[in-house]
Symmetry: C2
């Protein structure tokens, strides 16, 4: 049942995603889709990434949330353009929502658009937004077993950020178990250990992303 | 679009939920649906709840996950019957899955069935499983702003557990902001502060649940 119902939605979404992708390729703008659970530190990671890259690149952010605009306000407070999308109840962003955000952004003068998807380890995985890369964030307090329980998102991600690593002593996070499970699911994806709010470990992740952005320019 | 597509699914789900509810009412079994993000401590909270209530009540657990059986194995290791439901990719449990689990449980000799829904603050909210109560768990590391961003689940919950309160000094969790937002969304719901893995604060929560179970017996 799940498959039959989702097929037409996904087909329409994928058409619009291709159109989004063509538009951004023409404008030489890199789109990054960030997936994670609620409270894993998506906005903090995006803020730290902006700080690391804003000297070289012009950046905008699209914030997806069920409700509220608290995240986009945090981004705007740093002098970065941010478009808030409230999905009402939907647990993921879709290509048409992204296109409406693109329509209000100055694509001619941007290098990078960071899309903060709705906090959810399941729904956003299947939806192509026309992004250049999906990445995911797991935070240490969520536990080392998450790759076993949410394999799809770990497989969809081109890079994996492990956030809040400064809290590892507080939680029983088994680093070997985590890396073993991630290696089984997605051996090609680099894992970056960071503490976004303490701005630790952000350089390696930012350099990976910068290389990807430069490659399309 | 969202509404049109979901309506027939929800209608069929709600019919089966009513049937589940009638079956459990006849058997005098209380069903508790537990909603939370990935990694908020659902399984730990359920284990602590079992310890607090197992002398008085016969308990079984239904574990909902996208994949894996790590949670049901933890429950079974405590000598408690556990049924694992793997949803494949679906981000929530539905009534028909629950009914199949009921079919393999000994309802005549149970008082309480705890349903651990898929880790997700969005999708499970709309699905009636025929439970007696939905409750939710938020963990401190997820942040105090979650009621603003996921209002639906905070409104659907009859009780709210704030887990990992022992880590409050590590995170910038604004207790006043959290209680203010919860009070606006759902003033009737009690909030129980616990640390499930340290078995702190579980008594008040367990007593609330025990009262609800006794009321249907």
């Amino acid at each position: 049942m799940q498959v039959e119902i989702n097929q037409p939605i996904l087909a329409k979404n994928d058409e619009l995603a291709a159109s989004n992708r063509a538009l951004l390729a023409e404008k030489k703008v890199f789109a990054l889709d960030v997936l994670a659970s609620p409270g894993s530190g998506k906005t903090s990671t995006i803020l730290a990434t902006i700080e690391a890259l804003r000297d070289e690149f012009n950046i905008a952010v699209i914030e997806g949330d069920i409700a509220s605009s608290v995240d986009s306000e945090k981004i705007k407070a740093q002098g970065i353009a941010a478009v808030q999308i409230n999905t009402g109840g939907a647990c993921h962003l879709e290509s048409d929502m992204i296109r409406r955000a693109y329509d209000v952004l100055d694509l001619d003068n941007l290098d990078l658009i960071i899309i903060e998807n709705v906090g959810n380890l399941v729904c956003p995985t299947d939806f192509d937004l026309g992004e250049n890369a999906k990445i995911m964030i797991l935070s240490v307090p969520e536990g080392d077993d998450k790759p076993l329980k949410y394999p799809g998102v770990f497989q969809a991600a081109e890079a994996i950020i492990l956030n809040k690593v400064d809290t590892m002593p507080v939680f029983n996070f088994d680093r070997d178990a985590f890396y073993g499970a991630v290696g089984d699911l997605n051996p090609a994806a680099p894992v970056f250990e960071i503490s976004a709010t303490k701005n630790q470990g952000v350089e390696a992740w930012a350099e990976w992303l910068a290389d990807r952005i430069r490659a399309i320019q």
